[in-house]
């Protein structure tokens, strides 16, 4: 009997998921203009053949708007998760490598950020930066790095006492080479997994602040904007306005979460040969 090649199936899943997310992103960019077209002759249409997700009170195609919104969300997510992860890496490594007051300061800072309610922090940062695209990116990026920074700090603390690092020092390998050759490669699995698992958080928080009106401005086809506007029409029975964009958002988030989980399984020595 031929066993299922787990690594192959996992990578296949990763490929498909990444392609799907990429396609959504690209499609959203292409449909950006279509999402803004208003036509009152076709307003409030329920889902039908021409308009898969229906149209809204201004006759805009909800399918195009959803895709454009998701695309924007994914791009904001990528950017913020990327910045967050890099901040986490730098602060985590600094904290563990230098120790002493540097470690105390960074750890205190991590506790402070973690101790503040998440959504509140995002809103405050977003308002401070003038809302809009910059506000959301700054708000989400500067509030999500803490847990990954902690993980990386712990990992570096452990690696610091690894005999191969100490031996390299005695052999006369320079500090930078030791970090480059013996430290960073060992952090890669944690970093990658952390990065991918940050996406869903970033996307959800972007949508939340936008929904609450502290994020992206209302003329942009963001998922948060779509959802908050559709709230007003839900009571009049126009269910499609919220259902499809909401479900699509959940789907994207779940996809990212699964992606992160699978990458972890692939890199974890405890399951690498399955």
């Amino acid at each position: 009997m031929k066993r299922v090649n787990r690594r192959f199936s996992t990578l296949l899943f990763l490929g498909i998921a990444a392609a799907l997310l990429g396609a959504v992103t690209l499609a959203g960019i292409c449909l950006k203009d279509a999402a803004l077209v208003t036509d009152f002759s076709r307003k409030d249409l329920p889902p039908c053949q021409g308009f898969l997700f229906g149209t809204d009170w201004m006759g805009r195609d909800m399918f195009a708007r959803t895709l454009a919104g998701l695309s924007l969300s994914i791009r904001v997510g990528l950017l913020t998760a990327g910045i967050s992860a890099c901040v986490a890496l730098v602060l985590g490594v600094l904290s563990a490598a230098f120790g002493g007051w540097v470690d105390a300061l960074i750890s205190w800072w991590i506790d402070l950020v973690m101790g503040t309610p998440h959504i509140l922090l995002v809103i405050l940062l977003s308002i401070a930066c003038g809302k809009g695209f910059t506000g959301v990116v700054v708000g989400v990026a500067l509030s999500h790095w803490t847990s990954l920074a902690r993980v990386i700090r712990g990992e570096v603390l452990q690696l610091k006492t690894a005999p191969y690092l100490l031996a390299a020092e005695k052999l006369g390998v320079s500090r930078w080479n030791r970090v480059k050759l013996h430290l960073l490669p060992h952090l890669l699995p944690q970093f990658l997994t952390g990065l991918i698992l940050l996406f869903p958080h970033a996307i959800l928080h972007e949508a939340s602040v936008t929904f609450l009106g502290f994020g992206l401005s209302s003329e942009q086809p963001a998922v948060g904007v779509i959802l908050s506007e559709s709230m007003r029409y839900l009571t009049t029975g126009k269910w499609w306005l919220a259902l499809f964009p909401g479900a699509a958002l959940v789907l994207v988030v779940v996809l990212f979460a699964l992606l992160g989980e699978r990458v972890r399984l692939l890199l974890d020595p405890g399951s690498v040969h399955e």
């Binding site: 005999p163 191969y164 031996a167 390299a168 005695k170 052999l171 006369g172 080479n177 490669p185 060992h186």
Partner: protein, 200 residues
Amino acid sequence: MTLEGKDITFAYGKGAPVLDRVNISLSSGERVGLWAPSGRGKTTLCRLLAGYERPRKGQVLLEGRPLFPHEGPCPVQMVWQHPETVLDPLLPLGRSLEETGPADPGLLEQLHIRKEWLRRFPGELSGGELQRFCLARALQPATRFLLCDEITAMLDLVTQAQIWDFLLREAERRSLGLLVVSHSQPLLDRVCTRKISLKE
């Protein structure tokens, strides 16, 4: 050249001292066997002499001058009982070997390190093969003293004999000072020029 440990006292954390005012000296060309019952700080003494730990009291002296703190390649190198712990598992062995400069091809040949092993990762080779890499790395040009902490204790007898055969010739040629830690008296009798033991 002489390596000296003078009045070395050491304890881990707040525990009882592992070493209490230990004196040891080792000259170039000498092969000193260190013997003691288990748990009497043989490994700790090696770690102190190689600079992995700092003594609570006392000093490590090279030619009468304090050796540590030391920048760059240390003239005192340690080889360990478990070679797999001192080689980065994510780095091909060839790169681990050459982090400190190009490896001497003659040395590799004498250690019977095969070319194809250079591309392998530590997890793919046996303990005996890894120990050859550790020796090649520790025997860089700057090395004057080699501290061998049970380096063949985990290996089979044939590999043990191969490694010591090489090491004795190399120590002779470069006039290295060797500190040999082992629980095996016959091995110490065979390879050392003098023996010392750690008392309580």
